[in-house]
Amino acid sequence: MLGYIINRIIYLIPTLFIMSLVVFSFIALIPGDPVDAILGLNASEEARAAVRAELGLDRNILVQYLSWAGGIVTGDFGTSLTSGEPVMKLILEKLPATLLLAFASILISVFIAVLAGTIAAVNKGNWLDIGVLVAALAGISIPVFWIAILSVLLFSVHLQILPSIGYVSLLEDPILALRHLALPSICMGAALAGGIARMTRSEMIEQLSKDYVITARAKGLSPNEVTYRHALRNSLITVVTFTGLELGTILSGAIIVETIFAWPGLGRMAIDAIFTRDYPTVQGVVLFMAFFFVFVNLLVDISYTFLNPQIRLGGKK
């Protein structure tokens, strides 16, 4: 088991290296110069060269990459051009808000979607099933920003039951924090929920057709026990995989949702940094999100071994 985990962590190294290359070169290819952003378009050539030298932008691109990557290995993501603070410090400041949002939206969508998918599978073909399928399709196809704006209109403007923007820390005022959390997390989770519901439904339909389900019925288990204790348990592995893979979508959704709901998280930080051409911050945030995504996938892989005893055995060999 430990060997399996170490093995998986070693596999991460080349992945992370390639990711850092991609992040760095994309930023280098983007037109627009941070010097313009700092000095304005009318600055003299000498002043621009001075700032360039100060930022290290006059060096060979390879040297730039190596010094940047070298810093990252030691935990130094560089310094923000706009605020002058270390990027890592900024990321850690914004991280809790994004984590809270991502965690809440995953929790809500997994809970609702697994339940809905299971109900749909059990009632395959009748109106409950069709209702779930239509709702899932809507969740997947409706853009996040549209759902977000409409839900602000409905819940904040017309009904006035939920706040439309802002973030309150859970530690300060849990109730108010949850009220602020409700709209953004539901909007962010809608697409994920649609996907999970469809995945759960198809996997459950397959599992329910297997012989062990009839065995469980013959044992005298009630239909609900058969569904939840046997079939759902065997369906979960697919659902967990899917949820893990969809985390990337969740994080990209965070950029939009955080902007609409004025949520002070990593997504907002990335957008602000892009508009101000704050290269080190953009690179830092994107790379950090990529790290995060890879890390969660590792957790998903490890969680298989608990969900699926067959993989556990494979790991030992």
Binding site: D211, Y212, I214, T215, A218, G220, N234
Partner: protein
């Protein structure tokens, strides 16, 4: 054969599956079993043989109400199983069990053997956790498995071992009736013999009755007391084992028996070959379902479905020509 009150009595049971259909469209009707009647005594083994698609498994599952029979009655001792409320049916399930063909699909893959065997005890008894565990280990021992196997997962075992576990699962509630649905068909021959012997042993110890569903006539001959032959959802012949194997009356049974391979030269009698395929149960022929493939078909056969009747000495056959 004794004439005491039977353990299981099936009366005119039918099962119709709706096929297809949809909005404003009537589904087709598939008659998987028609007018099935038979009895099964305590401690007896009744073989149910027929080609694939003849409705063997449907009958087994309808008896346990894993499918609901469309109409007809199933009596367990004097209880009408088809009329039981869910709560009473749950209690009834501990007396009737089933073993499936595929030992790879019939055990929940995410549960340990101990948990799989524990579940029925948890549902049907008030035993404490320790008592249940003891019973689980004891039953594992019965089927020739070791106690350490209780903490393993199904995928760690071979097909024969899994089938032992499936049998242990069926036996653990000490049922009086087990439906063995092609229980040995997926195993290779040497393992088949072990499993059959295990089943026979359990029968002797626990006064078990088996409904032994199989397409393998040699295995059935070894295992059963009486045989029912199915064709397209109906019983065409029902008799004592020896009577049926030595003097098959129905042309279909005759054809089936000559198809059994044998090493003895004397057994290689003139073969009766069957022409064509089993008709679709969605569109069965009029009259006798076997008529299109029968060499001895009479005029009456295409008009009237023959009834199962006694042709002497309790040997029942459904054929106009006999």
């Amino acid at each position: 054969m004794t004439n005491e009150s039977p353990l299981l009595r099936v009366e005119n049971m039918n099962k119709v599956f709706p096929i297809g259909g949809g909005f404003m469209k009537k589904p087709l009707e598939l008659h998987a079993s028609r007018n099935i009647s038979f009895t099964l005594n305590k401690g007896e083994t009744l073989g149910l043989v027929g080609e694939s698609g003849s409705g063997k498994s449907t009958i087994g599952r309808c008896i346990l109400r894993l499918h609901e029979p469309t109409n007809g009655k199933v009596y367990y001792e004097d209880t009408d199983v088809t009329a039981l409320a869910p709560r009473d049916m749950k209690a009834m399930r501990s007396k009737m069990q089933i073993i499936f063909q595929d030992p790879y699909g019939s055990l929940t893959p995410r549960m340990k053997i101990g948990q799989i065997l524990d579940e029925p005890l948890r549902i049907h008894t008030n035993l404490s956790k320790a008592e249940r565990r003891e019973k689980v280990l004891e039953t594992l021992g019965h089927v020739g498995m070791r106690t350490m196997h209780a903490d393993r997962f199904p995928h760690e075992f071979s097909g024969g071992q899994r089938q032992r576990i499936a049998i242990a699962r069926a036996l653990i509630m000490q049922p009086n009736l087990i439906v063995a649905d092609e229980a040995v068909s997926a195993l290779d021959v040497s393992i088949q013999a072990q499993i059959i012997n295990l089943m026979v042993e359990a029968q002797r110890e626990q006064d078990l009755a088996y409904l032994f569903i199989s397409h393998d006539l040699s295995v059935v001959r070894y295992m059963v007391d009486r045989v029912a032959v199915l064709y397209l959802g109906s019983i065409v012949e029902l008799a004592d084992r020896d009577s049926l194997y030595n003097n098959p009356a129905h042309p279909y049974t005759q054809a089936l028996l000559t198809a059994v391979p044998s090493v003895k030269k004397a057994d290689r009698q003139k073969k009766v070959y069957l022409l064509g395929e089993i008709p679709s149960p969605l569109n069965p022929p009029a009259g006798c379902p076997f008529r299109p493939r029968c060499e001895r078909a009479l005029a009456a056969c295409s008009v009237e479905m023959p009834e199962l009747r006694d042709i002497g000495g309790g040997h029942m056959a459904a054929c106009h020509a006999v």
